[in-house]
Every structure is written in C-alpha cells, then in structure tokens.
C-alpha cells in the first residue's frame, strides 16, 4: 500500500495531479447543478411576477 502511495518516488506529483484533475471534474458538476438551480429559481420568480 505504501508502495502504491509512493509511486516510485513520484507520489508527491502524481497524487496532487489526480486530486486537481478530478477535483475540477467534480467542481464542474457542482457548478453546473448550481447554475441550473439558480436559473430555475429566477425563472420561477419571473413567472410569479408576470400576470
């Protein structure tokens, strides 16, 4: 296991890379869902205000 984490000495470059890469992937999903829910809220508000 510790060999796996060390990755022949390159672990300190490899794991942050994966963390950043997949972190951005996850972040994109979260941001997209937030954009959708805020767009829905705004649309609802607009519909309520119009006759």
């Amino acid at each position: 296991m510790s060999e796996f984490l060390a990755m022949s000495g390159y672990g300190k470059y490899l794991w942050p890379s994966f963390a950043i890469g997949f972190g951005i992937v996850a972040l994109n999903l979260v941001l997209a869902l937030r954009a959708l829910s805020s767009a829905k809220q705004q649309a609802k508000r607009r519909l309520e205000m119009s006759p």
Binding site: F4, S17, I20, K40, A43, L47
Partner: protein
C-alpha cells in the same frame, strides 16, 4: 432523408427535455468508466521503463488537454450554427461550453505543470504547446468576458459567436505545435495500430478519454438547461416544466 429529427434539436423545450433525460445517463456511464480507467491506469498498468510511475499523470492530463481543445471546437461550431441558422439553442450550447472548457484548460495546465517538474525539472516552460494552451485559457476568458459585458442577450450571443470563430485558429496551433517546432513537450504518442505504448497502458487511457467526453456531455446538458431557462423568459413550456 427525413431531417425532422435534426430540426427538433432547434426547439428549446425539446432540448430541455432531452437534456433532462440524458444527462444522468451520460454522467453515470462517465463515472463508471472513470473508475474502471483509474483502476486500469493506477493499479493494473505496469510502470514505464523511463518515467517509472510518473507517466500515470497522463491518465488525467491527456484527457483534460483533449477536452480543452474539443470543447473550444464544439463551442465555435455551436456558435457558427447559431449565427448561420439563427438558432437560439445553438447559442445557448456555446455559452454553456465556455466555463467547462476553461476549467479543463486549467486542469491541463496544472496537471501538466506537476508532470513537468519531475520530468523536465521545471513547473513551466515557454514552449509553443504550453504557451498556446495558456492562450486558449485567455481566449475562453475573453469569450466569457465579452458575453458578460454586452447587455442585450441577442447581441451578446452573436458578438461572442464571432469571437469564438475567430479564435479557432489557435486550436490547430496547439495541436500541431509539437510537430511544427522543436518543443520541450513531447510529440503525440501513437496509441493504436503501431502503438508506442503497451496495450495495458493504452486501454485505460482510451477509456478515460471516453469517460471525460461523456462527462462533458453530461455537464453540458445540465448547463444547457440553465441557459435555455434564462433565454426563454415567459414562454409557456417554462411554466409547465417548472411546476
């Protein structure tokens, strides 16, 4: 040939429904493929002769890079379709692409930087590929900045469309820079046919490419729904969809 299926894509309510239905599937399959690719790339694939385990960064760096270029191209094509055929849905798709593409460009630069340190001894180099990828990030920012600066939504759509199309010249420069100039960045590795890499290393990479593309599809469809809602104002289909 019956083109009705194509014209349906121009209808906002149809696209909204399509996006709502398919985004979870795209996302689910993407996640599954990512896990499989990660297992294949981090556990199953053997270390490289020269780079030992450092080469494994390719599994996150190369798909990000491909996606940063692919998303820009998609954005430019959608923008062109929107301009030529005056399709609001196309403009909405282009707008939805931009933030996703920018993030993947950041991911490419960051993961590339972390790979560069052990391999080349530096976190950054002003070589053609890295520089033009950085320029790509500036192009994404310019696109989003132009959109934000124009009040009228139709004008914003059209003006940013022109910008996206003009900026497309950068994409071939990035892709072929490693062939045209003596670059620090390594040239393209052949993956299929007469491959430069062992199959056990290649299949996780191909899987990860597919996973990232499907993931882009999922996130694009989610953001597309948001863009469509923002553009359709008081249309009746919006009322139905939100109740």
């Amino acid at each position: 040939m019956n083109w009705t299926w194509f014209h349906r894509f121009g209808s906002a309510p149809y696209m909204y429904g399509f996006a709502r239905r398919w985004a979870p599937w795209f996302g689910g399959v993407a996640l599954l493929l990512m896990l499989i690719a990660l297992y294949g790339g981090l556990v199953l694939a053997p270390p490289d002769y020269q780079q030992k385990d450092a080469y494994r960064i390719v599994y996150v760096h190369a798909p990000s890079a491909t996606l940063s270029l692919m998303i820009y191209s998609t954005m430019a094509v959608a923008a062109a379709v929107g301009l030529i055929w005056r399709m609001k849905v196309a403009h909405a798709a282009a707008a939805a692409c931009a933030p996703i593409g920018a993030w993947f460009t950041v991911a490419t630069l960051a993961t590339g930087s972390l790979w560069g340190k052990p391999m080349w001894g530096t976190y950054w180099a002003w070589d053609p590929r890295l520089t033009s990828e950085l320029v790509l990030l500036f192009l994404y920012f310019g696109y989003m900045g132009l959109r934000a600066a124009i009040e009228d939504p139709q004008k914003a759509d059209k003006a940013s469309a022109v910008l996206a199309i003009v900026g497309i010249v950068n994409v071939p420069i990035i892709k072929y820079s490693v062939n045209w100039w003596n670059s620090l960045h390594q040239p393209a590795t052949r993956l299929l046919g007469e491959a430069d890499m062992d199959w056990s290393m290649v299949w996780p990479l191909l899987t990860m490419f597919l996973a990232f593309m499907l993931f882009f599809g999922a996130v694009l469809l989610i953001r597309l729904r948001a863009e469509l809602l923002r553009r359709e104002r008081g249309a009746s289909w919006v009322r139905e969809v939100l109740s």
